[in-house]
Amino acid sequence: MIPKKWPDWTISPIAFAVIIVLILLGSIVVPIVSGISPKDEPPIIKKGMIRFGSMKSQACVDCHTNKDALMDVANNSATVDEVFIDPVYLTGYHAQLGCSTCHLGNGEAKTFGEAHTNLLIAPSYYGDSRVESMCITCHGEISKRSINTIEPTIHDEFLDVRHKDPSIDRCSTCHGQVAHGSDPFTENSHITGIQTTCHTCHANFNDQSKLMCQDCHNNPHDMEADCNDCHSVEGWAIKSTVE
């Protein structure tokens, strides 16, 4: 196919040239073909950036870990107790991100007003559009994951179907204030979350008039039985008396 007088070794530069031409061709063809393809493309999702604001949160730490400094501003011991942050909590995984990573505001400000501008008090309340860049940045796929392989997920049930109450539509409702002493990595968030939240309205598991296990757990076994017969509500473990 190439002229007879061309030596065989020229095949290497020819192959190299073909690859370059293919890439240039692709740079032209691919956008054109993409342009004439069906347009119902999924929305472009702009992810929030993790800010790693620990370096930019020193002013927050200086004030919120110091009751005297808080008292100077708040002048009210109840408010001071509410906004005081125990320094021991600032070593957890989430706290290491820094205050302004989740709560926004300005952690380098010199004044109270400047520091609390654009403050996000409840970073996990997903009724606030700014929350898009908070918990969801890292834990975005959570609603589509099954919990212990049981579908539909408790998140779908909880968030989309059963509860539309803004007062409880937030991650921290069940998972605790992760940067303030609650550690979702070591605590059983299912149990603690349900005990502190669901039980507020639904006093007992499998109470016929209240919350049923199968309201969240979609018939995990092919049998008719009361969940309490086999499972311990405290830990979901199989009771030792069950054969």
């Binding site: 196919m1 190439i2 065989d8 070794w9 095949i11 290497s12 020819i14 192959a15 190299f16 073909v18 690859i19 293919l22 890439i23 061709l25 692709g26 740079s27 691919v30 073909v33 993409s34 004439i36 393809s37 069906p38 347009k39 119902d40 493309e41 999924p42 472009i44 999702i45 702009k46 992810k47 997903y126 969801i136 890292c138 834990h139 975005g140 796929e141 959570i142 609603s143 589509k144």
Partner: protein
């Protein structure tokens, strides 16, 4: 759709796969073709040995260009070598070793291919003046050294082919489609395996199919089972591609959205026409026919098939990168 990685990364992944695949084919031919036939002066091995170094170097430059920081603060690249828990560090080391070693392999292959060039080099006056170095070259075991270097290049090429897929699959939870597992219960991502088979397919296309067509050479004379191997690679690639889309679609969420964008959305024409048509169906038919007839088809058909497979390989990487969708609540 994710916006961080685009066309440049797709080209880098394509060049990485192509270079690795071509090198693996060359090494395979080096060791397994029939002795006494096409041992030296094999143009297939020549292309497979000389291409990987330069195209991987270009791909790596594109990667540095895409990083942005790589141009503004090049000294930060040193950090890429020191975080051994990071897959990127593994890849950096593999590329750093593979590029120069494959260039040495390419050089030795050229010298072996054109023995006149080797003799010419040894007779240069400035080399003759370097007494010990000249006698070293005179006694140099060219073929044996080349085979040793080829073996090392082949192992590194396998690493490069797997790494290009592993690189984007580790992005994992952020873009679930890229970390779609082989089977749902087994958390081994498909992409490294898919990219490996695609690398082998494009490597066979640029070496065997392209070279044979352009030079009217017949590799099958020296390796009668070659069409079967190529057919098997294409079928396995098709299987992995199907598994990727099926498992992504079954897993729901962002991964399913990505699969939908490829199967019936904005990347569907690219996917069905170029990736499946040119990359799977056409080459499967052509290599199937060659396997059954036990001889090569017309040169023009084989050449068009080779170019089609290469273009398919490039398009596949673009489609997979572009269709990545971030996980979201």
């Amino acid at each position: 759709m994710q916006e961080e990685w685009g066309w440049i990364i797709a080209i880098y992944l394509f060049l990485g796969g192509l270079g690795a695949g071509a090198c693996m084919v060359a090494v395979f031919m080096e060791f397994f073709r029939k002795i006494n036939q096409c041992v030296s002066s094999c143009p297939v091995t020549l292309v497979g040995a000389t291409l990987p170094g330069p195209i991987l170097a270009i791909g790596t430059l594109l990667l540095i260009f895409d990083l942005g920081q790589g141009l503004q603060k090049p000294w930060l690249i040193i950090n890429l070598y020191t975080h051994f828990s990071s897959v990127m560090t593994w890849g950096t080391w593999i590329l750093t070793l593979f590029i120069p070693i494959s260039m040495v392999y390419g050089f030795l292959e050229v010298m072996d291919f054109k023995s006149e060039a080797w003799d010419w080099l040894k007779s240069r006056s400035w080399i003759v003046k370097m007494g010990k170095f000249h006698s070293f070259l005179e006694n140099f075991q060219l073929k044996r050294t080349k085979q040793g270097i080829a073996l090392v290049s082949g192992v590194l090429a396998l690493g490069v082919a797997l790494y290009t897929g592993l690189l984007i699959s580790i992005v994992g939870p952020a873009v679930p489609f890229w970390s779609t597992p082989v089977i749902p219960a087994l958390p081994i991502p498909i992409l490294p395996l898919l990219f490996l088979t695609s690398a082998l397919s494009s490597g066979l296309a640029i070496t065997v199919d392209f070279v044979d067509s352009v030079l009217n050479h017949d590799s099958h004379e020296h390796m009668s089972r070659l069409p079967y191997y190529h057919l098997a690679v294409i079928l396995v690639e098709g299987l992995f591609l199907g598994l990727l889309l099926f498992n992504a679609n079954s897993s729901g969420g962002a991964a399913a959205q990505s699969a939908e964008a490829i199967i019936s959305g904005p990347y569907s024409i690219l996917f069905w026409l170029f990736v499946v048509g040119l990359g799977i169906i056409v080459p499967a038919v052509i290599h199937g026919m060659q396997s059954s007839r036990k001889k090569r088809l017309n040169d023009n058909i084989c050449l068009a098939n080779a170019v089609g497979v290469l273009f398919s390989s490039l398009t596949m990487r673009f489609v997979i990168v572009a269709a990545g969708i971030h996980a979201i609540l």
